[in-house]
């Protein structure tokens, strides 16, 4: 070992040690933030916040099924009672009415401040007459049974008016006093966690509480169903963790077994894995330093690095022969290897510059990993190879492989046909070729999404799609703007543009509105006179409305409703989700229901001076987000492909050789895409990235096929090493195709197919064997 080699090895060891130190301090995440934009628009910001920490992110939907309704109802009551004891839940609702007493009490006490119907006209003699006649009509109907008792204190029906604002929000059916699905097969509960949805550890604790509490309900034969964002993120994390570990182990074991079978030396096996291990450590450390944390998916992707990184060592091993020192062997293949690595890096750069944090991490990880792996192969590995190293078993493979390669060009026309067919398939399928749904990126499985939808429908949980978002400098401005826009929405709902809306001003009107309502109530003597006039000729007993006169007089100078007045009610929780303090002012949100004409609503909405209001369409916004990802990834991929082409041209300096290198790659990409589409898949961003990686990885193969080798034996070695390398790549990526996490599955499947095709096509289109034949 020369002194220079010693220095290199020392530097490498120090580098690996530094990486290990960085990794030891790294935070690993699995939350949805990887699927969200890094530089969002203000609308996307709201979307992102809602997804990360909004009330929607805290919901746990609970179903209990598989037993008699009585057992299910009993289990629901016991489960709710258990969970309500825990601090981890803000609320647990199962329809048994717990908590709603405080709500009703709040609405009843403050009805004259909360009701938007309170105007001077309503309490004039004429206005009251109208109300009294309407009440008489109600008394005659079946509903009379319910209004009768509050009528003496509320003849103008303010409580009814307030409650009607909440009507139309569908409620689950009730059975034995608790919520049930319509068919009675499933008892339903809704819990809200204290922790935000992105806090997966806290969500996991909360879910564990639900499961253990359910275990104590005694309903042993019943089944517990859980859904909601927290459930998903906990499940996803487990899936990613499981997949990352499992598939890394499987791929490593398979590749190690392959290395061992061919080289029959544990030492060579260890050497083969050295570049990969160093690369993976450097990749994780780089992502940790660059992004502050490492996403679980990035780790899962590390598997692919094994498949690709181990190739470098394989090229070195196969090129070494007894007569050739490892250094000389390496010098011979180095230009080709270097070019291969550079094209791979061009490919991965497309991911690095993505606005999609998850992909950017994968890009950085792969580029760093490959650079380090190739550097270790170039400068460290030869020092460890025993002098006179040879790969004996490889020789046995040579005749077969060479025969296959020589026969391969016969398949040119079938290949051409396959490419044409694939192009036709892609051209015809143009419409639904791409999946347009952000959900296709979501790591949540299809069956879990369906369960979530089912429980949501059963419970009637609002499927919030449209939200009016108001930005205001202070809380009163936010509430006043909510009231002004609320009035617009009421008109719009009379015109049939929407069914209804929920506004923070429903629970907490602006001070101005409350004071206006206090002023609208006549003085006690005046109100008494108005009432007397109004009741003339109606069959009400004279003294019946004394409670009303007393309450109205008290309301005129009662303290205004503040946020603190709502303390202890469930409405406080709803208010907090609709009215949020930000660094610079306040944000109020109005949730719309049953929207039929979003365009006209958006046009009608006008924010008062000093505030800003937008109608946010979650579906459109997230679709748009997805489409912008897709077009960005598409653009980056094309740039990456262009960079690869330029790089090849600069190195090969021959259009003809460039064609030889590129043609198999283009064919592999087209046929792979055609196969994916034919198997009924809609292409996602991940497939697109996978196709780019086919180019990046496959270019190594066609470069080596194209390489001018002086001797026939060298060429034979090259071809065998390529075969071997593509098998390890296919193992690395192909194993991922079995993952349930879409990003891993899609990329793994695409590259697994594409890598093998690229090698086969390179052999088929290889010109040098023509000449020889």
């Amino acid at each position: 070992m020369t002194p220079a080699q010693r220095w290199r090895i020392a530097a490498w060891l120090a580098f690996v040690a530094a990486c290990v130190v960085v990794i030891a301090r790294t935070a690993f995440t699995t939350d949805i933030s990887a699927f969200l934009p890094r530089s969002p628009t203000p609308e996307q910001q709201v979307l992102v916040e809602q997804l990360r920490e909004g009330v929607v992110s805290r919901l746990v939907l609970i179903g209990i099924e598989g037993a008699s309704p009585e057992t299910l109802a009993q289990a629901s009551k016991r489960l709710a009672a258990q969970l309500r004891k825990h601090d981890d839940f803000l609320s647990v609702d199962n329809g048994d009415g717990t908590g709603s007493a405080a709500d009703r009490d709040f609405l009843w006490r403050n009805r004259y401040l909360l009701s938007s119907a309170v105007t001077p006209e309503r309490f004039s003699a004429g206005g009251l007459r109208e109300r009294l006649e309407e009440q008489l009509r109600l008394l005659g109907s079946p509903a009379g049974m319910l209004v009768r008792r509050i009528l003496p204190a509320d003849p103008s029906a303010e409580l009814l008016h307030i409650l009607e604002r909440f009507e139309g929000q569908s409620k689950p059916a009730t059975r034995d006093g608790v919520w049930f699905s319509r068919d009675g097969a499933r008892a339903l509960l809704v819990a809200q966690t204290r922790a935000a949805g992105y806090d997966i550890d806290a969500q996991e604790r909360a879910l564990a509480l639900v499961r253990s509490a359910f275990g104590h309900t005694g309903a042993s034969d019943a089944k517990l169903l859980l859904a909601g964002p927290g459930v998903f993120s906990v499940g996803t994390r487990a899936a990613i963790r499981g997949d990352a570990t499992r598939f890394s182990l499987i791929a490593t074991a398979l590749i190690a077994a392959l290395l061992l079978a061919i080289y029959r030396s544990p030492r060579v096996l260890a050497l083969g894995l050295l570049p990969v291990a160093s690369g993976a450590a450097a990749g994780i450390a780089a992502v940790s330093l660059g992004f502050g944390s490492v996403h679980g998916i990035t780790l899962g992707f590390g598997v692919t690095l094994i498949g690709e990184g181990v190739d470098y060592a394989i090229y070195l091993f196969t090129q070494s022969a007894p007569g050739i020192s490892p250094h000389r062997a390496l010098d011979r293949i180095w230009p080709t290897l270097r070019l291969g690595v550079l094209t791979s890096i061009c490919g991965f750069s497309a991911m690095l510059f993505s606005g999609f944090a998850g992909l950017a991490q994968l890009g950085l990880f792969s580029i760093t990993g490959l650079l380090v792996a190739v550097a270790v192969t170039r400068w460290i590995l030869p020092a460890f190879l025993p002098p006179g190293f040879d790969a004996p078993a490889l020789a046995a493979l040579v005749p077969g492989a060479m025969a296959a390669v020589r026969r391969a060009p016969a398949l040119r026309y079938p290949l051409l046909l396959a490419v044409v067919l694939a192009a036709v398939v892609l051209a015809v399928q143009r419409g639904p070729l791409w999946s347009d749904d952000l959900a296709s990126l979501s790591p949540v499985s299809r069956s879990d999404q369906l369960l979530d939808q089912q429980l949501r429908r059963d419970i009637g949980a609002p499927d919030v799609r449209y939200l009016v978002v108001i930005h205001a400098p202070d809380v009163q401005a936010a509430l006043q703007a909510s009231e002004a826009i609320g009035a617009t929405l009421r008109r719009a709902s009379q015109a049939g543009l929407l069914e209804g809306y929920e506004s923070p001003a429903d629970f907490l009107p602006s001070r101005q509105a409350q004071q206006n309502r206090q002023r609208a109530l006549p003085a006690p003597a005046k109100l008494r006179a108005n009432l007397q006039l109004a009741a003339q000729g109606l069959p009400y007993r004279r003294e019946v409305f004394e409670p009303f006169l007393k309450d109205a007089a008290a309301a005129k100078d009662m303290p205004l409703v503040e946020r603190s007045t709502l303390q202890g009610t469930r409405l406080a929780l709803r208010l907090d989700t609709l009215l949020v303090k930000k660094d610079h002012g306040w944000v109020a949100m109005l949730a719309l229901r049953g929207v039929s004409d979003a365009q006209n609503i958006a046009r009608a909405i006008a924010a008062p001076a000093g505030t800003r209001a937008v109608l946010l369409d979650f579906k459109r916004e997230s679709d748009r987000l997805y489409q912008s990802y897709r077009s960005e990834v598409l653009r980056n991929s094309l740039l990456g492909a262009l960079a690869i082409a330029l790089l090849l041209f600069a190195s090969l300096r021959s259009p003809r050789r460039m064609f030889d290198v590129l043609a198999p790659l283009v064919a592999a990409v087209l046929v792979t895409a055609g196969v994916l589409v034919l198997s009924g898949l809609r292409l996602s961003i991940f497939h697109l990235v996978g196709l780019l990686l086919v180019v990046a990885v496959g270019s190594n193969y066609s470069l080596f096929f194209d390489r001018q080798t002086p001797s026939g034996e060298g060429r034979e070695r090259t071809i065998v090493s390529l075969l071997f390398a593509s098998v390890t790549t296919m193992i690395g990526f192909g194993v991922l195709a079995f993952s349930k996490v879409p990003v891993l599955h899609d990329i793994g499947l695409t590259v697994g197919i594409g890598a093998i095709l690229a090698l086969a096509f390179a052999a088929i289109l290889s010109r040098r064997d023509d000449a020889r034949r």
């Binding site: 008489l136 009509r137 008394l139 005659g140 109907s141 079946p142 509903a143 009379g144 049974m145 319910l146 009768r148 008792r149 009528l151 003496p152 409620k171 059916a173 009730t174 059975r175 049930f180 319509r182 069959p539 009400y540 007993r541 019946v544």
Partner: protein, 163 residues
């Protein structure tokens, strides 16, 4: 009462009087009542205002002619109203099993002249209604009297319309 379960469809006129503590005169309404076995009951109030009440299985629809209001509610969501409408429908259907789900039932008299006394078994219902008395003969109901907890009561008399 068994005779009732033989009835496939029946129609009658009703007059309902409600005696309420907050009013100094009874509220009177009248209209027609139609029953179609086994689960449909229609109450068409004609005076003083048109209002239709349609009960079909577990769905109750209320229609008001003035203002064109129409609302459908699932009875499961309103247990008190459910118990109340079931007292009439199940009696018309001769369905003692369903009646006993909601009430303690006492049956007196003979088939020509019978009286049912129903006491709600659900505590929530008991807060509203203390007793329902239904009298009839053979396959028809003559009168329904509802006593409410607060002292209010209503009496509905029905004459069968065989035309």
């Amino acid at each position: 009462m068994q005779d009732l379960s033989q009835v496939k469809t029946a129609k009658g006129r009703f007059v309902e009087r409600k005696y309420l503590a907050i009013l100094n005169a009874p509220l009177q309404s009248s209209g027609t009542l139609t029953y179609i076995a086994p689960s449909r009951l229609e109450k068409h109030t004609l005076l003083p205002r048109q209002e239709n009440l349609l009960l079909e299985r577990e769905e109750l629809t209320i229609e008001r002619k003035d203002g064109n209001q129409r609302r459908t509610v699932m009875l499961q969501d309103y247990p008190v109203i459910w118990a109340f409408v079931e007292s009439i429908r199940s009696t018309l259907a001769g369905d003692l099993t369903t009646l006993k789900r909601f009430y303690e039932v006492v049956l007196e008299g003979d088939e020509r002249q019978w009286r049912l006394a129903l006491t709600p078994s659900d505590p929530k219902m008991r807060e509203v209604v203390s007793e329902i008395r239904i009298s009839g003969g053979r396959s028809w109901i003559h009168a329904i009297e509802i006593k409410e907890t607060g002292g209010d009561r209503s009496v509905m008399t029905i004459t069968r319309d065989d035309s």
